[in-house]
């Protein structure tokens, strides 16, 4: 097992009082496995991704749980120990490549500083490694590009450089937070293909955070669907998509454009996600749920096993084994 997140809780200490953004989530990842974290904006999927490297911005903090990576508990680590993991064993890809690269430093500087921080490498070795990595992400004439500044590259090119930054130290896990949301549709597919290709050839684990179920369906081995700070359904990608159990997942799937309904209005899930400040009683999805009953209003469902192995959903209406 590469990564094992157990009962993770993240709290934001707001002026009005503490608010739980992540409420007791658990998931795990094997070496080379790809997991999709899916949900609407505000579901807590990005917070979950950033909490793995303890990079949640103030006033958020991890208030409970354990995160085991290669057998070591990241939560117990000092900032210094964690820095040996960050960028070396686990790297991240951010959403907007226009904002992720430092505008006043060359691509070469921004890439070589990663390996030179974590390993004893000469400037020359680091530079040739950076050029090699740029070639891996299909950047033409990397020898020239490496001395350029971010603004001299297009958005798609910049995201390739960000991926190269994540890749350069050959990490065991990459956490990609909406890596294509800020890009053109035509470039989105290219970047996703590249990411998939690299994960497979380097046998890297991937946590793909996105709101786009169709992307996750092609890219990942397993899916975890998040709603209001909790995982409401988790399982193998095909299981979750073909036999979705939670009404929220079903709603998300129905909202995708489908060939059968060309020319018709897209489906939508009525209402919006509850604010973290005023969580409904019982199941947090019940105000929007089409199949609710009295129990859903009163009790909070936990993850239950479904028909197939490894497939779980947090709903009382699950068709059990």
């Amino acid at each position: 097992m590469l990564l094992d997140v157990k009962n993770l809780e993240v709290t934001f200490a707001l002026r009005s009082g503490p608010v739980q953004a992540i409420r007791n989530i658990s998931f795990s990842l094997d070496r080379g496995e790809r997991l999709g974290l899916v949900g609407e904006s505000g579901a807590g999927k990005s917070v979950a991704g950033f909490s793995i490297l303890n990079l949640i911005s103030q006033p958020g903090f991890i208030s409970g749980g354990e995160i085991f990576f290669e057998g070591k508990n990241l939560i117990k680590m000092s900032e210094k120990e964690l820095n040996t993991i960050r960028g070396d064993r686990i790297s991240m890809i951010f959403q907007d490549p226009m904002m992720t690269l430092n505008p006043v430093l060359t691509l070469g500087t921004q890439m070589t500083e990663i390996v030179r921080t974590h390993h004893k490498l000469s400037k020359k070795e680091a530079r040739s490694l950076a050029i090699e990595t740029l070639r891996q992400v299909h950047i033409p004439t990397p020898e020239k590009r490496i001395d350029q500044y971010p603004h001299e590259l297009s958005g798609g090119m910049r995201q390739r450089v960000v991926i190269a930054c994540a890749l350069i130290s050959k990490p065991a896990l990459i956490i990609a937070d909406e890596p294509t949301t800020a890009l053109d549709v035509t470039i989105q597919a290219e970047i996703m293909d590249l990411l998939l290709e690299l994960c497979e050839s380097e046998n890297m684990g991937l946590i793909l955070i996105t709101h786009d179920l169709s992307v996750v369906a092609q890219m990942t081995d397993r899916i975890a669907v998040m709603y209001a700070g909790k995982i409401v359904e988790i399982g193998k990608t095909q299981q979750v998509i073909r036999e979705s159990q939670h009404p929220y997942t079903q709603g998300l799937l129905k909202a995708l454009p489908q060939k059968r309904f060309i020319g018709k209005r897209l489906n939508q899930i009525d209402g919006s996600m509850p604010s973290l400040l005023s969580m409904p009683t019982g199941c947090s999805f019940h105000p929007r749920c089409p199949i609710l009953d009295d129990r859903c209003r009163a009790e909070r469902p936990s993850l239950q096993d479904c028909r197939l192995e490894g497939h779980q959903a947090a709903c009382f209406k699950v068709e059990g084994k």
Binding site: S91, D96, T100, P103
Partner: protein, 324 residues
Amino acid sequence: MFAFIIRRTIQAILVMLIISLIGFSIKHQFGDPVRDLLGVSVSEAEREALRKKLGLRDPFFTQYFRFLKNAVKGDLGFSFFYKKPALEVILKKTPATIELVFASSLIIILGSVPIGIFAAIRPQHWLTKVFMGLSLIGVSIPVFLTAIMLIYIFAVTLHWLPSYGRGDLLDLGFWQTGLLTLDGLSHLIMPATALSSIMLPLFIRLIRSEMMEVLQAEYIKFAWAKGLKRIRIWFVHAFKNTLLPVITVGGVQLGIMIAFTILTETVFQWPGLGFLFLEAVQRADTTLLVAYLIVVGAFFVITNTVVDIIYVFINPMVRITGKA
């Protein structure tokens, strides 16, 4: 890059032309040089003859171009009071002012950069709160008051520092410096401190707020995710980006500081340009005033041009547009 410098230099020359036009208009409108030269006991006909001889009856632009032609040659007219060429009088006083401004800039840079950075990366620290409080007070107290308080405390009460003048000077031929003698340096401390008393807190606050904004940027978050050392993130990733707006403001402020020297130099009897300017105003020495205007204007324009060029070296985005 080269094209950018050329273009920027042409702009600077244009600005200087406008300054000279304004300066000349002032001279043209105020005061009567003939009266200054001749006194009261000369007849009106003789006055008129002298006016014609001096070219004062020529059209405005003919006179302006004559003024410009002389100015390019380094002749900015004759000071009535000093009985010397105005430029010579000004250049003789320039080292004093430049040394004062230089010392103040040094205090400002050495003070504001570390304090500003510290206040940005440790916003909750008690020292930050002290610095921020003091800087607010510093910005609010006028320079002349700071100067008088300094004199009262360190010269009158404690007798630690001299209260006026430049002290012993070392003559380098073209430049009389107070920076190389102990007495000169001790005379410099209080005026330089007083002059920096407004800009230092201003720059602390500017650097702090810029740096805090930069620290929120995505690329800083990405730098943390790379596992880089804190020092590298603060000084290489964040500070370089903080510098861009600070340099722009700094260039303008350097010019403003020269204006502030008028107050400081008067309080400390510092024999520099500001002191000279105030004397020239009291004596209605228009030629000297215009020469001062042009020299200080030139100083302003040169510093701003240099700042723009430095900016290009730091900000790669301007560099490209400069190339195009």
